[in-house]
Amino acid sequence: MVELIAATGRAGLNRVAAFGRAAIFLMQSLVARPAPLQMLPLLLRQIYVVGVQSLIIIIVSGLFIGMVLGLQGYTILVAYGSEQAVGQMVALSLVRELAPVVTALLFAGRAGSALTAEIGLMKATEQLASLEMIGVDPLRRIVAPRFWAGFLCLPILSAVFALVGVYGGALVGVEWLGIYEGSFWANMQNSVDFFDDVLNGCIKAVVFGFVVTWIAVYQGYDSVPTSEGISQATTRTVVYASLAVLGLDFVLTALMFGDL
C-alpha cells in the first residue's frame, strides 16, 4: 500500500518535472529567436512542410465533415420544417468546434508526428550534437522555426477547414437536398457573430497550434535516441496532443460559451 502511494507520488513528481523541462525548453526556443534574415528561409521551408503539405488532408476532411453536417442537419431539422437553418447549424458547429478541434487532431497526426520523428532522428544521428559543436544552437536552428511554423499554420488550416466545410454543407444542403439557397446563406449570415463565433474559434485554433506544436517538438527533442525511443516519442506526441486538444477544448468552450 505504502509502495503504491510512493509509486504514485514518484510518477506524479516525474510528470511535474517533465512538464517543467518542457516549459524551460519552450522558453529557450522562443527566446532563442534567430535574426529574421536567417530565420526567414528556414521558417518558409517549415511552413511548406508543416502547413502546405497538410492542406490536402485538411481540405478533404473539411469537405466531408461539412457534407455530413449538412446531411445530418437536414434530416433532423426537416422534421420541424426548419431546414433553412441547416446553413446556420453547419457554420456554427464548424466555426466554434469542429474546425479548430478536428484540424488540430489531424495536424497532430499528420505534422506533429512527423516533427517528432524528424527531430528525434536528428538527435539519434548526432546531427543536433554536431550543430552544437559547430556552435549553432539547435533550439534556434531546428526547434524554433518548426515551432513557429506549426503555431502559424494551424489557425490558417483551421480557417481553410471551416471554409471548405461550409462549402461542403452547402453542396449537400442546397445542391443536393434542395434547400432554398437564399435562406441557407441568409440564416448563416444572421446567426454567425464575428466576435462570439469566428474570433473564439480562432482563439481555439491559436491555443491548439501552440500546444500541439510544443508537444511535438519537445517529444522529439527529449526522445531516447534509439529506434524504439523515437517510435515511442511519436506515439506520445499523437496521444498527448489529442488529449490536450480535447481537454482544452472543453475548458475553452466553458469559458467562452459557458455563461450563455
Binding site: Q127, S130, M133, I134, G135
Partner: protein, 272 residues
C-alpha cells in the same frame, strides 16, 4: 610519465556520474598542443562521454576541463558557443545534415561563423573537400555516400573553420581496410599540415598506435596507463597487456557484473 610542456587541454580531477554509476572518478588528462593524443579503452568506458565533456555538451559533477586556461564547464551558453568555434568534432556516425548536399554541409560552419563572400566560401569548401579527396562528390546528398566517404565529408566539415582542436570519435569503426588506411593517413597528414591538436578516441589498437604521439588508456572510471606508443608496448601491467594484445578476458572483465552464473541458471530451474 613523459614530460608534457605545452598543454592545450588540461583535465583535472574529473568526476562524472551517470545515475549511480561513476563513469569517471577523479581523472587527470593532459593533451599536448599540436600532437595526436589517443584516448583508448574498451567500449562503454566513457570515451565518447569524455569528448562530450570537453566540448561542453555534458557537465561534470566535479573537476575542471581547461582549454587554454578557460574552464569549459563553467562557461555560459554564449561563451561556450564561442569556444566551440575552436573545436571540431567528428562524430561516430558522421552526423552529416541529411537535408543538405555535401557542399552545403562543408559550407555550413563557414556560413554560420563568417561573413565571407560566396566565391571565398566556395574556394574554401573545395579546398577542404580536396583535402579529403572528395571534391568530385560535392553535389551528392549524404544518403548517397558510403560510410567511409560520409566520415571524410564530416572531417572536411570539422576542419572548415580551421579549429585548434579536432576530436575524432571512433573514426575507424566499421570501415573496410582501405577506407581505414585512407582515414589513418588523412588524420596524420592533416595534423602535420595544419598543426592543430588531434584527440582520437578509439579501440582500434593497431591503427591508433600507429599515428598517436601520446596515449591514455581508460578503464574502470580512471586512467590505467599513459605514455608514448613505445612506452605502452613495453608496459608490463596485466591490465594494459590485456588491452593492447586484445585478449578477451583478464583483469578487465569480459562480463558485465552479474550474479554467479551457475546459481543464476539454477534459479531459472527452481522458478520454472
Amino acid at each position: 610519465m613523459t614530460q608534457l610542456d605545452d598543454i592545450i587541454i588540461d583535465v583535472r580531477g574529473l568526476t562524472f556520474y551517470r545515475g549511480e554509476r561513476a563513469i569517471f572518478r577523479d581523472v587527470d588528462i593532459q593533451v599536448p598542443r599540436g600532437k595526436i593524443t589517443a584516448i583508448m579503452g574498451p567500449s562503454g568506458t566513457g570515451k565518447t562521454t569524455l569528448l562530450k565533456l570537453i566540448g561542453g555538451q555534458l557537465k561534470p559533477d566535479s573537476g575542471e576541463i581547461l582549454l587554454d586556461g578557460q574552464n569549459v564547464p563553467s562557461l555560459g551558453r554564449r561563451a561556450l558557443f564561442r569556444i566551440r568555434e575552436r573545436m571540431g568534432m567528428l562524430f561516430q556516425s558522421g552526423a552529416l545534415f541529411t537535408d543538405m548536399s555535401v557542399y552545403e554541409n562543408v559550407a555550413f560552419p563557414l556560413r554560420v561563423h563568417t561573413r565571407l563572400p560566396e566565391e571565398m566560401v566556395r574556394d574554401l569548401v573545395l579546398m577542404k573537400l580536396q583535402a579529403v579527396g572528395l571534391r568530385g562528390a560535392r553535389d551528392l546528398m549524404p544518403s548517397e555516400l558510403s560510410g567511409g566517404m560520409a566520415r571524410r565529408v564530416a572531417l572536411a566539415r570539422a576542419i572548415a573553420l580551421d579549429p585548434d582542436v579536432l576530436m575524432y570519435d571512433e573514426p575507424f569503426t566499421g570501415q573496410d581496410p582501405i577506407a581505414m588506411g585512407v582515414l589513418v593517413n588523412l588524420i596524420k597528414r592533416l595534423n602535420e599540415a595544419t598543426g592543430h591538436t588531434s584527440i582520437i578516441v578509439s579501440h582500434d589498437i593497431q591503427e591508433t598506435m600507429g599515428i598517436a604521439d601520446h596515449i591514455y588508456i581508460l578503464a574502470d572510471g580512471g586512467v590505467i596507463a599513459q605514455g608514448s606508443p613505445e612506452q605502452l608496448m613495453a608496459e608490463n601491467s596485466p591490465q594494459v597487456k590485456q588491452f593492447i594484445d586484445g585478449l578477451p578476458d583478464g583483469p578487465v572483465p569480459f562480463h558485465f557484473p552479474a550474479d554467479d552464473y551457475q546459481s543464476d541458471l539454477m534459479l531459472g530451474l527452481n522458478n520454472g
